[in-house]
Amino acid sequence: MTPFRSFIPYLQVAPLALIMILLVGIPVLTVLVTSFWSSDGIDIYPGFYLENYVEIFTSPVTIRLFMTTIKFALLTLIFTLLIGFTCSYFLVFHIQNLQTKIALFLLCTIPFWTSNIIRMVSWVPFLGREGVFNSAMMGLGVIDQPLDILLFSDFAVVLTYVHLFTLFMIVPIFNSMSKINPTVLEAARDAGASALDILLYVIIPLTRTGIALGAIFVVTLVMGDFFVVKIMSGGQSASVVSAMKNDIDQMYYAQASAQAVLLIIVVLIMISAILRVVDIRAELAR
């Protein structure tokens, strides 16, 4: 009786565990193993070699790629957080009517009904040298030379990331904010807190779970991207993953695996940093 009962929890986690092992565990393990193999672009030599890691850690490109990618991630994080928080705040605290609230929330998701690629590529004719924005500005006489910095630049990359990923910030923050009991805010007001005090000492602490979740989404999405960087920088910038893709295209699988392992470690460090600030598990159970 008792041995059987103690077995039940394991049975309950079994389906998820199985899926995680099959779809996450085994692939990651394969990448890890492959990263120690050797490859000359055609043949792969299984074994235990450190050459891929030596190459990564002695190449000046590695640190530069990570700095660029982390820079993109942080900039995107800041802008999506500002926009996402503001939008959620407006939806939750300013819109009184539930139906309007839902309607406006759905409005935020409409751009997401089309594919990422379409939304990204549509910036190209807008920002280009002979694009809509430059033509309009020159027509109005604001500028007399087209602004080259708008397209095929870091600016274009971050702009696109913000455009693509803000919803991933809005949804969790909106969710956390909606859970705040209005009476808490009333109590704060009655106790003499200013609007700024309420924002800083009540709302932000109570939405930090949402902020942390959103931050995890945005950071992992940016760190794992190569396509936006490639298109929007016109191939002028490289990210960690775009360098990896170059290697995969050239069939240097072992070298790409080593880079993948390093990326996983860096992203894990970033995520655990976020989790150190906010204990999501405790907050969600609350």
Partner: protein, 433 residues
């Protein structure tokens, strides 16, 4: 890692024998000849499906459709970039029958031994293939440039189990050459506003922020090297096989140029190059011939500019996978023979590429088309693309002139260097700089 299907296993032999027996019976009952090759397998051949995988500029649905119609069996095509084709040949050889490979890709993948040598005696028009491939010589008999991978260097092999290429012609070919071209820079004459005659202009600060380079490392670095050499910064021993020092110097020059804002973009797909040019983002860049045609078909002036240093050449051919045997091998050979018989050559000429057997292509093209595409004469009438829309109005001649002016003037060939890995590392450094 790799497993090669060998005909030597007892099972393989017996299956082959059975197939041969069956085929022989059919052969006895049928004997009609169509398109040069006797269709003695017709009854069983019609059930065969041949899968061809290659890049979008050589694998074209219209060609497969026509081939299926003419041959009586089914030719299926899948599009994949050269990178992906190489990877399929090396890692999943059983998923394709015929691989369209660039010659430099053959240089790289032949040693997997996943391809089988092609018996040139079974290729009816082998002797009509231009001497460039068969002998490494131009049409006028002069030696072709050996910078990079001259197709001839990897054209012949010694046997199915031999990883080396033969320096002298043998009876066995690695691939059957099909299409090739001479690449150069594309420019927007309206925005450049003056005569361009040297690769050096790619790095000319006059075009800062308005030039672009191809971001396929092996090819991009060659275009860059053409420009650097033309400018006189560096003379390479062999642009197609640089030493580490040469790679270092090249990348340094490129990084300096990039930091100075020389490049607007680095493109890696056909469409990107078209859009950069058509939108006026770029006025001078590495480009492919059909891309120039597309820009022009949008009503924007674009020239595939001949340059005094010569062209960067490339070639594609069809390789037979090692697992083909019996009736499917017969079908594959029939397809190869069909490919060189004219229809495909004419089709591909209209996209701006050349056929390895110009004789049959010219016989299929109209005289006016032949004059325009091959002989460099002004178009006597409007020249249509393969799909029937006008791509060149009467009176204008092909950029770069005749076949011999273009192909005879190739300076270096697309290639894979001995220091490939090192070069790609440094190239990544340049892109991320």
């Amino acid at each position: 890692m790799k497993q090669r299907p060998t005909g030597a296993s007892p099972k393989g032999v017996s299956r082959r024998t059975v197939l041969k027996g069956a085929a022989a019976t059919t052969a006895a009952s049928l004997g009609s000849g169509v398109i040069g090759t006797p269709m003695i397998w017709a009854n069983t051949l019609k059930d065969v499906t041949i899968t061809q995988v290659g890049p979008s500029f050589s694998v074209i649905p219209d060609i497969a459709e026509q081939a299926s119609k003419d041959l009586g069996f089914k030719v299926e095509q899948q599009t994949a970039g050269t990178d992906a084709v190489m990877s399929r040949v090396a890692r999943q050889p059983e998923t394709l029958d015929i691989a369209d490979l660039e010659f430099w890709a053959v240089q790289r993948v032949w040693r997997t031994l996943n391809l089988q040598p092609i018996d040139i005696n079974r290729i009816g028009s082998w002797d009509k293939i231009i001497p460039l491939f068969r002998e490494g010589k131009n049409n006028d008999g002069s030696e072709a440039s050996r910078q990079g991978t001259l197709p001839h260097e990897v054209q012949y092999v010694l046997g199915a189990e031999d990883k080396e290429f033969s320096a002298t012609p043998t009876e066995l070919a690695s691939i059957v050459p099909t299409i090739y071209n001479a690449d150069t820079l594309g420019i927007r004459p309206d925005l450049v506003g003056r005569q361009i005659d040297s690769w050096a202009e790619l790095l000319n600060p006059e075009f800062a922020g308005k030039s672009a380079l191809l971001n396929i490392p092996q090819i991009g670095i060659m275009d860059a090297a053409m420009a650097i050499e033309a400018r006189g910064d560096l003379t390479y021993g062999d642009k197609g096989n640089m030493t580490r020092e040469e790679i270092d110097k090249t990348i340094e020059i490129l990084i300096d140029a990039k930091r100075a804002g020389q490049f607007r973009a680095f493109w890696s797909t056909f469409d990107e190059s078209v859009n950069l040019m058509a939108a006026g983002e770029v006025v001078i860049q590495s480009m492919w011939s059909p891309a120039v045609t597309v820009v022009r078909s949008r009503g924007i002036d674009c020239t595939y500019q001949p340059l005094k240093e010569g062209y960067r050449g490339w070639g594609v051919g069809m390789g037979l996978m090692g697992h083909l045997e019996g009736i499917r091998l017969e079908a594959a050979y029939e397809y190869l023979n069909w490919y060189l018989s004219g229809w495909q050559g004419a089709f591909i000429a209209r996209t701006g590429y050349y056929s390895s057997v110009p004789e049959t292509a010219l016989a299929t093209l109209s005289a006016e088309e032949g004059d325009y595409w091959y002989h460099g004469k002004p178009a006597a009438q409007d020249i249509l693309d393969p799909y029937g829309s006008v791509q060149e109005t009467a009176g204008r001649a092909r950029d770069g002139g005749s076949f011999d002016d273009r192909i005879g003037n190739i300076n270096c060939w697309n290639t894979v260097m001995d220091e490939d890995r090192y070069m790609i590392r440094r190239w990544n450094e340049f892109i991320s700089a």
